[in-house]
């Protein structure tokens, strides 16, 4: 019961304290929102880029376009040789008919019909090679370039490396920006609590004189910082939820991967926002209480 009274006392005092210095509290909360919006944007973009990376990794690493009308024994021998290459997990022969069917399917998915105007069309036969690791693409490409059956080789390794470098760049820039905004947020919360401590120094002095324990004196201030972080997090979650529907098609268009904008991802993102808001609020107020409370009264 005493613990419950303590919690109730601390929460009520924190709430009163938050609104007593409303301007300062709202300014600190706004910086929390700014930081969390930046964090959300970074996580969304990184998730999209990661999805793109996985997409590329899961797709064909190397495609070998074959010369026309290869005899079946020669084709079989080629497939056996390709599957024996290091780093190759699978090699699938795509006939010209299968390639045409894929093209028709692609048009159908786009809501269109492939209209050839009655003209006879024949696509190239190819071998689509899956790799255990995209880094084998170069060695596989070199091995195939010596084969007379192969007319042209395309690889996605370049895309993979480019995407990896973009992800690294975005992550670095994002973390640096977040770090700077995070420091600003900490400064704002530390300052908010410092002002709260000084504006209530009379109360604190009386609390000490009448025998209030340190936890009764300190926790309302720590909770006030946590409240600032949590309110900032809730506002950010609402903003992200409202922006989610417009974001989704953009994400699908840019990153080609609907998994990046799944409901599950939104739930994880909300949990991260809440956790970071709560954490930064608690850290800022804890630093401020440690630095200011012992000297305030």
């Amino acid at each position: 019961m005493r613990l419950l009274r303590f919690i109730a006392f601390s929460v009520v005092r924190a709430w009163q304290g938050f609104w007593r210095n409303a301007m300062m509290s709202l300014a600190a909360t706004s910086t929390v929102v700014l930081m969390l919006v930046l964090l959300s944007g970074l996580l969304i973009v990184l998730a999209g880029l990661d999805s793109g990376l996985q997409y590329i990794e899961s797709k064909v690493g190397v495609t070998a376009r074959l010369r026309d009308n290869l005899p079946q024994p020669q084709l079989d021998a080629l497939l056996v040789d390709i599957r024996a290459l290091p780093g190759v997990s699978n090699a699938e022969y795509i006939s010209p008919d299968a390639a045409l069917n894929r093209l028709k399917d692609f048009y159908r998915e786009q809501g269109q019909t492939l209209d050839l105007g009655g003209a006879p069309i024949s696509l190239y036969a190819s071998v689509e090679i899956s790799l255990t690791d995209p880094n084998y693409a170069e060695s596989v490409q070199n091995a195939l370039s010596e084969r007379p059956e192969v007319e042209r080789i395309t690889t996605r390794q370049v895309d993979y490396a480019k995407l990896l470098s973009i992800i690294g760049y975005v992550r670095t820039v994002g973390i640096v920006a977040l770090g700077l905004v995070g420091l600003t947020v900490l400064f704002m919360i530390v300052n908010m609590i410092r002002i709260a401590v000084y504006s209530r120094s009379g109360e604190i002095e009386i609390m000490r004189l009448v025998g209030a324990s340190d936890s009764f004196i300190r926790w309302p201030f720590i909770l006030e910082g946590i409240l600032c972080g949590v309110i900032g997090a809730v506002v950010t979650i609402i903003l992200v939820a409202v922006a989610w529907e417009p974001i989704k098609p953009i994400m699908v268009r840019v990153f080609q991967m609907p998994t990046a904008v799944s409901t599950e991802f939104l739930a994880v993102l909300s949990a991260v926002i809440l956790g970071v808001g709560l954490g930064v609020g608690a850290l800022g107020s804890w630093i401020s209480v440690r630095a200011n409370l012992s000297s305030a009264a």
Binding site: E205, L209, V210, G211, S213
Partner: protein, 246 residues
Amino acid sequence: MTDALRLPYVSVPATVEPVISMVDVGMTYPNGKVALVDVNVSIPEGDFVFLVGPSGAGKSTFIRLLIREQLPTAGRVVVAGRDLSTMRRSQVPALRRRIGIVFQDFRLLPAKTVYENVAFALEVTGATGAEIRKRVPRLLSLVGLHEHDEHLPAQLSGGEQQRTAIARALVHDPAMLIADEPTGNLDPVTSWDLIQLLIQINSMGTTVLMATHNQEIVNAMRRRVLALEHGTLVRDESGAAYEREY
């Protein structure tokens, strides 16, 4: 300190446990200022003691040591059987609930009513709502403010504000009440009213230590007097006047 200044504690019955005991207490601040030198005092439970001396004599330091706002740089301070030098920080709140304290400037919270100011002292120490509702009206009746419980401090006279501060100081049934210049901001008539209240509280068993410059009150009361000068206890005399009479 010379032997001549170590005066007998004539008002202390040998059988009564001291509620305050200072043994060879010295206090020197970090800036080198010497506030107390070799102070030896024993105050028994239920005593009424005046602490007198000019400004800067060490009265405030004496009080700060008793509530463990500061620790002595020499000697021992024992309050209600607890040696304050060896007391852990976490035990200080419990000590302060055994000591009520009032100041010259009242130190009331201006945005809270009389009732809320007194209740606040209970609330911040984890008292239940039922305890608060039971104790606060009783204390306000004791100090004669039961009809002013909804008033803000600014709506009260100086004497009424000091009575509110006394009610707040008594919320935990302290063994001792320390009053630091409680009449300093009050007119003579109000000061006497307040002294009557302190006598009433003392008659209920609470030890009262009152730091004051008010010669008239000390001379009229003829209680035990501790006189400090330049940090030294120059007089400890029962039934005494403000100034030395011999």
